[in-house]
């Protein structure tokens, strides 16, 4: 207790200097918190959007489909499986998708396209596909007056093949049984622009796609959405255990993967990006360190004579070392406390309101309109650990110096 009191009073000894040091530490803390928070918050926003719009939180596929997609590697589209999946803890929505390639023909030209068979209503509820329409209307599962199924096409498909809503689209591909598939569809809507992810898509009602590829009652992925993309691992586990609990599906080689596995490369580059975003704050921490080191060194040098007396009367070196470290940690703790009080409301505001961008920016097909924060305990814990750790590191040199003093040499400097 006396030692803590001693450290505390030594910290208060040169108030002006303490305040300056504290300010730089608090500033470092707040800036690191906010950089961290906006960094994570923006990625959260992006991932939230990305998983919802494109890959879901969890996918159920045939074994190996994710690594090597083949037309034949399918999952059943079956009411009992649907029921079993939706029973899993945390599942909010689910929908099947059939995915393959085809060659599309317009009047004059042809173009390779990505075909997606979806359940129009479920798909729209889950991925809000209709929001991405740039022309025409959304897909229905019904055949039109000519007995043709409807199709949505990407903007590039529309342009290359010179197609507009109402036009006919021809798809040609090989079916699962090896036969040549060949079918006519009515374009009802166009998705996004030519730069969008959907630009080469042809979206068909699931039943139409199953007919086309000769995959009755089958698809390639069940897309599952839970409440939070950050809890995808837990959701995947729940889905797995739900499947394991049903004799029909327990032995089936179904693979349940969270989005981090489905989009492994994307996830990894994103994490690297995020680290890159932190470099600025590491530099900042470094600068703060230099300032703090300077202060502590100064306060140690000033007290050299005093340390000499302390050593003369029998203070062992490690005590003196501990004293300097303790002083620095007292300062660091104070800085973290003040930093937290300051950063918390700002972060709350960033999380709830955010800073609108003058123009939304696009990162790999995803749009940001706001800088947003993330309100979670680690946004404060990381800077706290960082400030503490660096303070400790910075204290080592002055503390070692003080510990090594010989009492007489030190006292001569009084």
């Amino acid at each position: 207790m006396l030692l803590l009191r001693l450290a505390w009073r030594n910290v208060l000894r040169n108030r002006r200097r303490t305040i300056l040091t504290l300010l730089s530490m608090v500033g470092g803390y707040v800036i690191v918190t906010l950089v961290l928070s906006v960094n994570y918050g923006s990625y959260d926003q992006m991932l939230e959007q990305y998983t919802r719009d494109s890959i879901g939180h969890v996918q159920v596929t045939a074994d190996q489909y994710l690594d090597r997609p083949r037309l034949q590697r399918t999952v059943p589209v079956d009411e009992s499986l649907r029921g079993q999946l939706s029973q899993a803890q945390g599942v909010r929505m689910l929908t099947p998708r059939l995915e393959s390639g085809a060659l599309a023909y317009g009047e004059e030209r042809s173009l390779p396209v990505e075909v997606r068979g979806v359940e129009p209503d479920q798909e729209d509820r889950l991925s809000r596909l209709s929001n991405r329409l740039s022309a025409g209307r959304y897909l229905s599962a019904e055949r039109d007056g000519h007995g043709q199924h409807e199709a949505l096409i990407g903007a590039r498909v529309a342009r290359q093949l010179d197609l507009e809503p109402g036009a006919d689209l021809v798809l040609i591909a090989q079916g699962a049984d090896g036969s040549l598939a060949n079918e006519l569809y009515t374009v009802v809507g166009i998705l996004g622009d030519t730069e969008a992810v959907e630009s080469r898509w042809v979206v068909l009602p699931l039943a139409a796609a199953q007919d086309f590829y000769v995959l009755p009652d089958q698809a390639h992925r069940w897309i599952i959405l839970g409440d939070d993309f950050q809890r995808a691992e837990r959701l995947a586990a729940a889905v797995r255990s739900s499947l394991a609990g049903d004799a029909n599906w327990a032995d089936n080689a179904l693979q349940v993967s969270p989005w981090q596995v489905v989009a492994r490369e994307f996830y990894e580059t994103m994490q690297a990006d995020q680290q890159g975003g932190m470099i600025a704050s590491y530099i900042l921490i470094f600068l703060v360190c230099i300032g703090v080191l300077n202060t502590i060194l100064m306060s140690v040098m000033e007290r050299t004579g005093e340390f000499g007396v302390l050593k003369a009367i029998g203070t062992p070196p490690h005590r003196l070392f501990g004293m300097i470290v303790l002083e620095t940690l007292v300062l660091a703790t104070l800085a973290c406390g003040l930093g937290f009080l300051l950063a918390w409301p700002i972060n709350l505001w960033l999380t709830l309101v955010g800073i609108p961008m003058s123009e939304p920016i696009e990162v790999s097909g995803l749009y940001f309109s706001h800088f947003r924060g993330r309100m979670s305990w680690d946004m404060f814990a990381i800077p706290t650990a960082l400030v503490w750790f660096t303070a400790l590191l910075v204290a080592l040199y002055p503390a070692t110096r003080a510990a090594r003093l010989t009492p007489l040499d030190a006292m001569r400097r009084l």
Binding site: L2, R9, R13, E306, A312, G314, T315, P317, P407, L414
Partner: protein, 243 residues
Amino acid sequence: MQASIQRKASADPTADVVFETRELSRHYGSGDTLVKALDQVSLTIAPREFTAIVGPSGSGKSTLLQLMGGLEAPTAGEVYLRGQAISAMSGRDLSDFRRDHIGFIFQAYNLIPVLTAAENCEYIMLLQGVPKAERQARVDSMLNRVGLSGKADRRPAQLSGGQQQRVAVARAMVSQPDIILADEPTANLDSQTGSDLLDMMHELNRREGMTFVFSTHDPMIMERASRLIQLRDGRIESDEVRA
């Protein structure tokens, strides 16, 4: 007198000798610039002695006290505390030795400025691992004995020079050392305050039997010593015991 003490010492080294130096030397520099700050000094200090070390500036008073207190290593010779040689001690042992056996009073700047008078005294007992309740009791009684009972909560800056030195005496005493070494404790005080401090130290010496060795320039202060060791050029010039 000195001879008789030495004879007793060899018969029973712990009974009548607290401190002993044998041919203690401390040299600084080398060749032309060699300074024999202390040159083969042998002396013994008996318990309850109140010894003044006097001599002109540069005669080696501080050097002798520093060697006795284990603050400096001798060039040659040996210092014994109750028969134990302190030059054999390693750094950590030496530090513990000073903490447990020696009370130091320096000319000035003895105290930690951010601690109160009481806390300054408590600090050394904290190092010794004395339990809190006992620390408190010993601090109270010690400050009382040096006449500072009302000033326990003052910081050094709020005390006069004489009061600060009293706190330093209290701090030196409170750890219950074998001997208190004081290097010119009154040098920064006016002569009246210096005499008062010495009277107080003498009182502690008589009543509680604490052994003191102090150096001084001041003839008024020398008067109060029960033994006067005179140094010149690092050697003992005279060693006289008064009644």
